[in-house]
């Protein structure tokens, strides 16, 4: 028994497989980073190994090109406002749906949930028309409404489920004390649902930050481009200079990557939250 257990513990096969995949994942990232410190020509010399002389000029050029900061600022603004709104609206709706149990409530709940399975891209033709009518075309303000709508199904799902599981006594005491529903929401519910709010935000962070489609079809104005849309422009501009392209890509990947590495378990929990109960 002991012998067999020890044998099992080593898991040599599993380690070999997973190390192989680790290599498959990390190798392109290694290539990305080291080559961003080469020059237009030295990039062809020793493609998979560190540069002979480390060249920082790619980064300084990209960063000195003022547009990069504009793009970054735009993305940051769009994503933060969308995340705040989606968590706020989803928590209000979740509170209502969890507390008010009725036939119509159930129907509305499923109306929201249906959105989890439908890609909003299909609605692009009409969305384009709506944004044009609202005068939001070519501005970053066209994006938050769509991202909020896109994030609500999962948000409502996560928050309704979470609030439903809060103990009933919580409300009873507050109602006896004469607390209004608004007070119950802000003083009791909100502090308790913080983990679910975080999950909702994390779940939506990657699709919002990494969305290319809607900026691409809505925005053609340099000053309103998001980071990724800006990257497509810089890609065209530096096309003959891959080392600069790689510097742009590295800079664009860093924000989410750093955030992810700092809190990977929350990230993974957030991403699986849409499908796994509890």
């Amino acid at each position: 028994m002991r012998g067999s257990l020890r044998k099992e513990n080593r898991h040599i096969f599993s380690h070999i497989v997973l190390l192989l995949w680790t290599f498959v994942v990390l190798f392109p990232i290694w290539v990305l980073v080291i080559n961003s410190f080469k020059t237009r020509l030295t990039i062809y010399e020793n493609p998979f190994w560190i540069p002979k002389t480390w060249e920082f000029s790619n980064y300084t050029t990209v960063l000195r090109d003022g547009d990069f900061f504009t793009y970054f600022k735009n993305s940051f603004f769009v994503v933060s406002i969308s995340l705040v709104l989606v968590t706020l609206l989803a928590s209000l709706a979740g509170y209502a749906l969890a507390r008010y149990k009725s036939r119509i409530g159930t129907i509305i709940y499923y109306f929201f949930i249906a959105g989890m399975m439908i890609p909003i891209k299909i609605a692009s033709i009409k969305l384009l028309e709506i944004m044009r009518a609202l005068g939001l075309l070519n501005t970053i303000y066209a994006l938050p409404p769509i991202y909020v709508a896109m994030g609500l199904p999962v948000g409502v799902f996560i928050l309704t489920t979470f609030i439903r599981e809060l103990p009933e006594d919580l409300y009873e005491a507050a109602i006896i004390d004469g607390a209004s529903s608004g007070k119950i929401y802000s003083m009791i519910i909100l502090p308790l649902i913080r983990p679910a709010l975080a999950t909702t935000a994390i779940y939506n962070l990657i699709p919002f930050w990494n969305d290319l489609w809607f900026p691409l079809i809505f925005i053609n104005n340099e000053r309103h481009k998001t980071l990724l849309l800006g990257v497509t422009r810089l890609f065209g501009q530096y096309q003959t200079d891959w080392s600069k392209v790689l510097a742009v890509l590295t800079l664009s990947a860093i924000p989410v990557l750093v955030l992810y590495l700092a809190m990977s378990s929350q990230f993974i929990k957030g991403v699986t939250a849409g499908s796994v109960k509890g």
């Binding site: 209000l92 749906l97 008010y100 891209k121 299909i122 990657i206 992810y260 993974i268």
Partner: protein, 301 residues
């Protein structure tokens, strides 16, 4: 107590903001896009009802129908590669990562998920360089791997495979983590009982683990389907919106963009009706395939 609370509870007030945004910017545009597939013209002024004419053009116009069926079958291929490679590897890695006694599981998990945090555009551009034979080709030949020097993205036989596999590389993290979460929920005593009965790891997986995580397998299948049937970014980054070379990587997503949003080269005037027709078919296809899959797999979940 609850009854009293409910009566004075202005629940509609709490629901209204979310309901409004969701209806105006998702539900309504979606349904109205379906309606627009029966019209021609690009704005309210020039719009005329044309019945099923857009669909007729999509399927009978020699140029358009060739493109549509090309993109349609490419999208299915793209989906199947994900279904087999991405989800297959995902479930395999998840089984390995849920071995209680294995060390370093957390680190492997963190690494597997890294590409998923990248934007598809970044992944696409990066792999475009990686697969460029002019860049590393000579080096690969010099270290004895000449078969790796091939213009994978320029060859109509390999381009779609290359693009699909890069996309799998990117998204593998999501099914893996979903399967890990599902496998963790399996009762340990059940697995212990199977082990005592003498079931090997393959048998345990096939007869115990897989049936128990069927609901998640269903969700992952649906998500793979939904996400790949409107994929766009990866082809945009690695090839272009025309699905180069020679439309061999053209997907429904890129076709929709060209016809409905950007306008076909060289005229450049978008055809909203045709775009809406493409969207409508995709929507119906999703309904027809997603609902039965969920029915099948979510029973009792």
């Amino acid at each position: 107590m609850r009854i009293k609370h409910s009566r004075h509870f202005p629940w509609l007030l709490y629901l209204a903001p979310a309901l409004l945004v969701y209806t105006v910017f998702m539900a309504f545009p979606l349904i109205d896009s379906l309606r627009l597939s029966l019209f021609s013209g690009n704005n309210q002024v020039t719009r005329v009802f044309v019945g099923l004419d857009n669909f007729k053009r999509l399927f009978t116009d020699p140029e358009i129908s060739t493109r549509y069926w090309g993109a349609f079958f490419n999208t299915w291929k793209f989906f199947f590669v994900h279904f087999i490679v991405q989800n297959g590897l995902g479930i395999f890695f998840a089984v390995l990562l849920t071995q209680e006694t294995m060390k370093g599981r957390q680190i492997y998990q963190t690494i597997i998920f890294i590409p998923t945090t990248f934007a598809v555009l970044i992944t696409g551009y990066l792999w475009k360089l990686m697969l460029n034979p002019v860049w590393a080709g000579d080096f690969l030949v010099s270290i004895g791997l000449p078969f790796l020097k091939h213009p994978y993205l320029g060859d109509t036989n390999t381009a779609l495979w290359a693009v699909s596999l890069v996309s799998c590389w990117q998204w593998l993290g999501i099914p893996t983590m979903m399967f890990v979460a599902a496998l963790r929920n399996i009762n340990v005593e059940l697995l212990e009982a199977a082990r005592l009965e003498g079931a090997g790891s393959v048998k345990t997986f096939w007869y115990i683990k897989l049936p128990l995580i069927k609901p998640i397998v269903g969700i992952v299948a649906v998500l793979t389907f939904v996400n790949n049937f409107n994929a766009f970014d990866i082809v945009f980054a690695m090839e272009n919106v025309n699905g180069a070379p020679e439309y061999s990587t053209d997907l429904i997503g890129t076709l929709f963009y060209r016809y409905g949003i950007a306008g076909q080269h060289p005229i450049g005037i978008p055809d909203a009706g045709l775009g809406a027709a493409i969207a409508t078919i995709t929507f119906l296809l999703l309904m027809v395939l997603v609902i039965p899959t969920l029915r099948q797999t979510q029973r009792g979940a």
